[in-house]
Amino acid sequence: MNQSLNRRRLLATAALGGLVGATGLGSLAPEAAFAAEAVTVEPGAPDPNFAEGRISKVSGNMLLVTGSDTVLHSIRITNGTSIWKLHPTTFDQVAVGDGLYARGVRLPDGTLAADSVWVNIVNLHAHIASVGRNMLHLDHKGQRIVAHVVPGRSAAVYNGTPAVSDMSLLRVGRHVQVLGAWHPDTNEISIATVYAAA
């Protein structure tokens, strides 16, 4: 805990401190940064640096994931991996049975060294069938989905303006796009962001 506080203080000081120029440290032009990573994916071929599926086993810092096409992926979580589960979180929040999307670098042994992992992420276009206390009932292609508003976490974007926490402009019957975290094996999600017209 103390270590994390110290680290945060260091990072905050660096961000707020005096400017350190880029010129002495090499070019920051996008061409220079991208030059090292040649795009090797054939058009139409699956992206080797992406994996999705349900977690069937967690061992150490490895995740064994069964893809929706039944392909098995092993995914390595590193010190630099970002883990999202409704919000940026830590590896200990990841459980067997969770779904995930992962992006990273495919290592020669076939494992994916993950840069970013999004656990249980869903992206739905739906209509609001009814609203309850901190809850939206969504009609998604005729199926009912219960979307929970998580106070302090859920955000709403109205008409593309900056995100706010206020959900009260959502209207029954209107179309919404919802990014959220699925509760595995249920028809319920927690709302990360809801995009709506107001």
């Binding site: 991996t81 970013s116 901190n134 005729g142 990360a192």
Partner: protein, 288 residues
């Protein structure tokens, strides 16, 4: 009472059938509705629309016959047969093509639900009752106008309640009214993380270091009047952390600063602030 109920059934059946035929025969979206229905699966793509139209014609004819005198038992039997057919078709659609649309009372894409099945069941019951009626609905209504009107209203309300197609006309306004009265989504304060992330992504600092970033948001915290957002990044072949500082009070992207810090040594490799806008007249472009 049961005689009144039975005698009024042709009226209910006729009204529902004519309403249903209206969509199939006169709606401009009938072709789309036919293509979304399970008729495509049952009869094939080419025959779905003609079958849909023919069904509409049958419904219109039978509905008109039921409403108009004389009251014949044959009409009630035909209506019962048609309702049984609906029930069988909907059961088939639900089992074989669950994503198909009902195509029953409106051209909207509405999947076959338990309510649609219950409505078809109600029509079967109405048909059977109509077969038991002794006289026409007009004589029954004239004999007991109040009871007859009440029965009629209650039954039509039941049909409407069992029709998902008509929800937009009565159920959604009711739910809207309840939400307006109870305000279940009130509350919600504070600036969500997404607001800071959006501000960062519009900033000059982000544009300059974006090619270095490897991960999504790894950590974030508030300290004083600022919010800090950290990403894992790669710079000059070593793992680094890119940390963005966002002032909570200032929503302008120009206010975002970034530092790139070596993970191993803690050395600040790069630190950038947003460039202030140039003075003088300018065209303000707001990102949509």
């Amino acid at each position: 009472m049961i005689e009144v109920l039975a005698a009024l059934q042709p009226l209910v059946l006729g009204a529902v059938l004519i309403w249903s035929a209206r969509v199939k025969l006169f709606s401009r979206r009938a072709a789309a509705a036919a293509n979304r229905s399970a008729l495509v699966r049952l009869l094939g793509q080419d025959r779905a629309l003609p079958a849909y139209r023919v069904l509409g014609g049958v419904e219109l004819t039978l509905g008109a016959l039921l409403l108009a005198p004389p009251a014949l038992r044959l009409e009630a039997i035909a209506a019962t047969g048609l309702a049984v057919g609906f029930l069988a078709y909907l059961t088939y659609a639900r089992r074989v093509a669950p994503t198909s649309s009902c195509g029953c009372l409106s051209a909207q894409p509405i999947p076959v639900s338990g309510r649609s099945l219950a409505r078809a069941g109600l029509l079967v019951a109405a048909g059977v009752l109509a077969g038991l009626a002794a006289g026409g609905w007009w004589t029954a209504l004239a004999a007991r106008p109040l009871a007859g009107a009440a029965v009629l209203l209650a039954e039509l309300a039941l049909v409407v309640a069992l029709s998902p197609e008509l929800d937009a006309a009565w159920l959604l306004p009711l739910r809207r009214l309840r939400a307006w009265l109870t305000r279940p989504l009130r509350g919600g304060s504070g600036v969500p993380l997404l607001a800071a992330v959006q501000q960062i992504q519009l900033s000059d600092a982000y544009r300059r270091v974006a090619p270095l970033l490897r991960s999504d948001v790894r950590e974030h915290w508030d300290d004083g009047d600022g919010r800090f957002v950290g990403h894992a990044a790669h710079y000059q072949g070593r793992p680094v952390t890119a940390v963005f500082a966002v002032p909570l009070a200032d929503p302008e992207p120009d206010a975002v600063r970034v530092a790139v810090v070596d993970d191993a040594t803690g050395e600040t490799l790069l630190s950038l602030a947003g460039t202030p806008r140039p003075a003088g007249p300018r065209l303000t472009v707001v990102p949509a």
